[in-house]
């Protein structure tokens, strides 16, 4: 009807022009569709495999699952180091604002909160493999205040999350801090070593103490989870996993109670020093401590670089383990070594008498006994009892020394002095036994006639009484006394007792074989030990005032080492007990502690009392002694 009403509605002739234009439009559409189909063919059929592979890789994230680190316990099963979880702050760079200024502003806010510079944040982000949603750990150990602040201001920190991670928890505070050691992120240099195979950057490994030396047991085996993630890095399901294996636990040979008594006695004295208590036959360390000490939990909290430096450089160098790393002249505590050399090398016999006039002239230089005492004609046993310097000066004067050795030097080396003690702790001190070769190599310019001069027999005289250049660590001296006490076996000291898996099953017992056996005649041993027993137990003995009242005989030697002009002497005491059948050696040194009997001997006695349970009502120490022997 409308068609009639409106003449202009008459259907248009399909003019050539209209035909052409419709044909052009049709051609354009056909061309476009053909292009699309060709492109589809090219992408899906020709290159399909390539893109299928890309897509399959996409969205798969391998996440490392960290196992809890093994716990560390003392010999009786008392927990010393456990784990606790802390919140660690992570950043997902892919979730940061896409706007450049907003991103910068957020990182600035974050840096201010964490005390990190923009450069540090950028470095950490770069150090983490980039992938959609891969988190970068910016800080471990976020405190509660910061956590709440971040939760409350979540929208201001897109891409920031806080997740749980493990850190060490020190159940006994700073007890045995030097032995336990600390953990930290694995260093690039460590990663290159075969011992760290399976460890990934960012993993936490032991960096000192037994944490370091038994790391391969404690660290466990990291697991992995293959997770399907979406484009925002949100997990969408697990594709597979290899469970992490918790680290094995480490039982130490340490007796926490004895350790505590030793540390407390040392702390009460208030002077820097160290002590070692060791089973003379097995080399099991029952206690080993150093004062001043440190709180290892410091390293579980976030600190600035400056704070770390300040912590390590406090007065008294608390990080130094004086028992294992501190090398000092020992003074008279060295005399049993000189005595062994003199008797075994035939310089003197057991009954050889020297007349101690109180002084000795060695080539024009007159040396005196400490305190100027004159002991008259004495044999070796008495010389040890009263600690006659003149007697031992003479031995030093008559002993030969040339090149890399000498009678005293050789025996000192045989006793393990001047070399690393082979303990299962990193960074043990080797000490120093001076030889002509050593002195002539080190002091070449001869500018100072007293110090910078070639070797002479005076050096040997000094060495004979543990003075001069000699450097011995308390652990080394304890080991030497143990060899004397046990019949000549030079043990390998160890703090590791056994490795126990998470089910409590012993995986491995740590029983390092002795380093070597010294050929010392029973006569020599009985003369020397007898002298030390008299020194401790008989009136006139150097440590009688401290040890005289001990319930059963012990054999101990004081040492008082000169530390230079204007400085208090270094106080030493080394004792084996019981005298008849020695089980334990205790060696104590106190810097600036004066005479050996003043500072070191009382501490040693306190430790012995604890060991033999004399402090708690005089109970027998047999049980403890037996278990010590078993390790």
């Amino acid at each position: 009807m409308y068609l009639l009403d409106r003449p202009e509605d008459i259907p248009p002739r399909l003019t050539d022009r209209l035909n052409l234009r419709i044909a052009i439009i049709g051609a354009v559409v056909v061309a476009a569709i053909a292009t699309i189909l060709l492109r589809l063919w090219s992408l899906q059929v020709l290159d399909g495999e390539h893109y299928r592979a890309l897509a399959k890789d996409h969205g798969i994230l391998d996440v490392r699952v960290h196992p809890p680190r093994g716990e560390i316990l003392d010999r009786n099963g008392k927990l010393l180091v456990a784990n606790r979880t802390v919140m660690s702050l992570q950043l997902r760079p892919s979730d940061l604002p896409s706007d450049r200024d907003e991103r910068r502003a957020e990182l600035r806010r974050l840096g201010d909160l964490l005390g990190l510079s923009q450069r540090e944040i950028r470095q950490r982000v770069r150090a983490t493999p980039q992938y959609a949603g891969y988190p970068v750990v910016l800080k471990q150990g976020v405190d509660r205040r910061l956590l709440f602040y971040l939760l409350e201001n979540k929208e201001r920190f897109p891409g920031v999350s806080v997740e749980r991670t493990y850190v060490r928890s020190y159940k006994a505070g700073s007890l045995a801090a030097h032995i336990l050691g600390i953990v930290g992120q694995v260093s690039p240099r460590q990663l290159k070593r075969p011992a760290y195979r399976g460890v990934a950057p960012g993993d936490v490994v032991g960096q000192s103490g037994v944490e370091y030396s038994y790391d391969r047991y404690l660290r466990g085996i990291a697991g992995s989870e293959r997770i399907q993630v979406d484009a925002l890095g949100r997990p969408k399901g697990m594709l597979g996993n290899r469970p992490a294996r918790a680290g094995d636990n480490l039982r130490l040979t340490l007796d926490a109670g004895l350790q505590e008594v030793g540390e407390e006695a040392l702390r009460d004295r208030g002077l820097p020093g160290g002590f070692v208590a060791m089973n003379v036959r097995s080399g099991a360390i029952l206690g080993m401590g150093s004062y001043p000490s440190f709180d290892p939990s410091f390293y579980t909290r976030p600190h600035t670089k400056a704070e770390y430096e300040t912590f390590g450089n406090r007065p008294g160098d608390p990080l130094v383990d004086r028992a294992n790393q501190g090398g000092y002249p020992t003074g008279s505590a060295f005399k049993p070594i000189t005595a062994t050399a003199a008797l075994e090398e035939g310089l003197i016999g057991p009954d050889t008498i020297f007349n101690d006039t109180g002084s000795l002239d060695i080539g024009g230089l007159v040396v005196h006994n400490a305190g100027g005492a004159a002991n008259g004609p004495i044999d070796m046993s008495t010389a040890l009892q009263v600690s006659s310097d003149v007697y031992f000066f003479s031995l030093g004067l008559h002993a030969e020394a040339s090149g890399k050795g000498g009678q005293i030097q050789d025996w000192a080396h045989a006793y393990g002095l001047g070399q690393k003690p082979g303990i299962d702790l990193p960074a043990a001190g080797a000490g120093l036994i001076p030889t002509p070769a050593w002195r002539n190599r080190v002091y070449r310019s001869h500018k100072n006639p007293y110090i910078d001069r070639p070797w002479n027999q005076g050096d040997n005289v000094n060495l004979a009484v543990g003075q001069g250049d000699v450097m011995v660590t308390p652990l080394q001296l304890a080991r030497a006394y143990a060899a004397l006490a046990n019949g000549g076996t030079l043990v390998r000291p160890h703090v590791g007792g056994r490795i126990v898996d998470v089910d409590g099953k012993t995986v491995e017992r740590i029983k390092p074989p002795p380093k070597r056996h010294l050929k010392i005649s029973d006569e020599t041993r009985s003369v020397i030990l007898g002298g030390l027993e008299r020194a401790a137990m008989e009136p006139g003995g150097t440590s009688y005032s401290v040890m005289g009242g001990f319930p059963f005989p012990v054999a101990g030697k004081t040492g008082t080492a000169e530390r230079g002009e204007g400085q208090e002497d270094q106080s030493w005491y080394s004792v084996v007990a019981p005298y008849g059948d020695p089980e334990i050696v205790v060696t104590v040194t106190v810097e600036h502690g004066g005479f050996g009997v003043e500072s070191a001997a009382p501490i040693a006695r306190t430790i012995l009392e604890r060991y033999f349970h004399l402090d708690a009502g005089g109970a027998s120490g047999a049980a403890a002694a037996q278990s010590a022997g078993a390790e």
């Binding site: 419709i22 899906q44 893109y51 399907q228 979406d230 484009a231």
Partner: protein, 392 residues
């Protein structure tokens, strides 16, 4: 008059039954459209199930409802005599411009763009309907002049009618729909037969205006393209530089489509399921189809569109009225332009502009707008069939 043109017979008023006769519906066109919306619902039902927690069928259900509503509207519209719309051209045109302008007053901004009007059950996107309304009204205005010679002035006036709504849409800002409106306007003028010289002049003018304002604007610090628009427009030229910017989407889409291989990955379609692909039920749904159903599925969709376009081009030649030819030309421009640009961007051939895939992309306004356009075509078809019957 009848006597002057004896080849024409008077059309008797048709009965209601006759009007509802299936013979008056282009079954092939209807089949292609229903096939496309069905494929869309199937795709939405099998993919993006995890997007809204606890509501796996959210998009599929809704799209199915929009589709049914659209088909009903299409059939209803096909029963109307489209030529009546010529008289309503001013009303239609005003309503179109008004509705676009309305979003500036009461619109809802989504991701910085003011395109939507909140209705009780529905967010209406007037610019989707504007495409259809522009076809109807501009074709009518053009038709008014078609029997007289075209001057350049006329051409420019008619072009301006198309550019006003396009400009408004660009201001929302909605670059994609704006370009579609321009494409519709230019195509209608092209079909109307304006001289080639005019096209050359329009082209030159466009380049001059665009280049001039852009240069002048940059000089005084005005940015005509939003940063993200500029990024998207150039990203396809260098698709693999940085996974975090606009080219990321293009990259992800290409990987998704390619990984579909011949027959698709089905439920293993990680690329699209794991959100690597944004806008995966709207702008990038073709990549989803490519990944899930492979070349077979994607080519099937292309085939359905090809059938659709073939029927529209055929209709342009068959229309009883030249007005119908112009409307069909406009609708063809609207559909083909969107299909080509959307697929082109899914396949990394064309820049990323927010243009959806008609009947396949999720979205009520788009589905209903497209079905309204198809309803118009069915009406044109019905008239042409009536003519055939009468001519017999």
């Amino acid at each position: 008059m009848e006597a002057a043109k004896p080849s024409l017979t008077i059309a008797p008023r048709r009965s209601l039954a006759e009007r509802l006769s299936l013979a008056r519906i282009d079954g092939v066109l209807l089949g292609a459209a229903v096939g496309l919306i069905a494929f869309s619902v199937f795709t939405l039902a099998t993919s993006s199930r995890g997007e809204l927690a606890g509501r796996p069928m959210y998009y599929a259900d809704r799209q199915a409802i929009y589709g049914l509503l659209g088909i009903a509207l299409m059939v209803g519209l096909s029963r109307l005599d489209y030529t009546r719309l010529r008289d309503l051209r001013l009303t239609v045109y005003t309503a179109m411009v008004g509705s676009i302008a309305l979003v500036f007053l009461v619109g809802t901004a989504v991701r910085g763009s003011n395109r939507w009007i909140d209705l009780p059950f529905f967010q209406l996107q007037p610019s989707e309907l504007a495409k259809v309304l522009l076809c109807v009204s501009l074709a009518a205005y053009v038709f008014e002049r078609v029997r007289r010679p075209f001057g350049l002035g006329h051409t420019l006036k008619l072009l301006a009618l198309g550019l006003v709504p396009a400009g408004l849409v660009l201001l929302q800002p909605d670059l994609g729909t704006g370009i579609v409106l321009v494409a519709i306007a230019v195509t209608i003028l092209f079909v109307a037969g304006i001289p080639w010289q005019h096209f050359a002049a329009i082209g030159a003018l466009a380049v001059l205006i665009a280049g001039g304002t852009y240069a002048a604007g940059s000089a005084v610090g005005i940015e005509f393209l939003h940063g993200y628009q500029e990024d998207r427009l150039t990203a396809f030229l260098h698709p693999s530089e940085d996974p975090s910017d606009a080219s990321y989407q293009v990259n992800q889409a290409i990987i998704a489509v390619g990984s579909g291989e011949e027959v698709g990955r089905g439920d293993n379609a990680t690329q699209t399921e794991l959100l690597f692909l944004p806008e995966r039920h709207t702008d990038f749904i073709f990549a989803v189809i490519g990944e899930r159903f492979g070349f077979a599925g994607a080519a099937f969709v292309v085939l359905l569109y090809s059938v659709l376009f073939w029927r529209v081009i055929r209709l342009m030649r068959q229309a009883a009225s030249f007005y119908g030819t112009l409307i069909a030309g406009g609708v063809l421009a609207m559909l083909a332009f969107q299909v080509i640009v959307n697929m082109g961007m899914n396949l990394g051939l064309l820049p990323v502009t927010g243009i959806t895939l008609p009947l396949i992309s999720y979205g009520g306004s788009s589905v209903i707008g497209t079905f309204l356009a198809l309803g118009l075509l069915q009406s044109v078809y019905a008239e042409s069939r009536a003519e055939v019957f009468q001519s017999r």
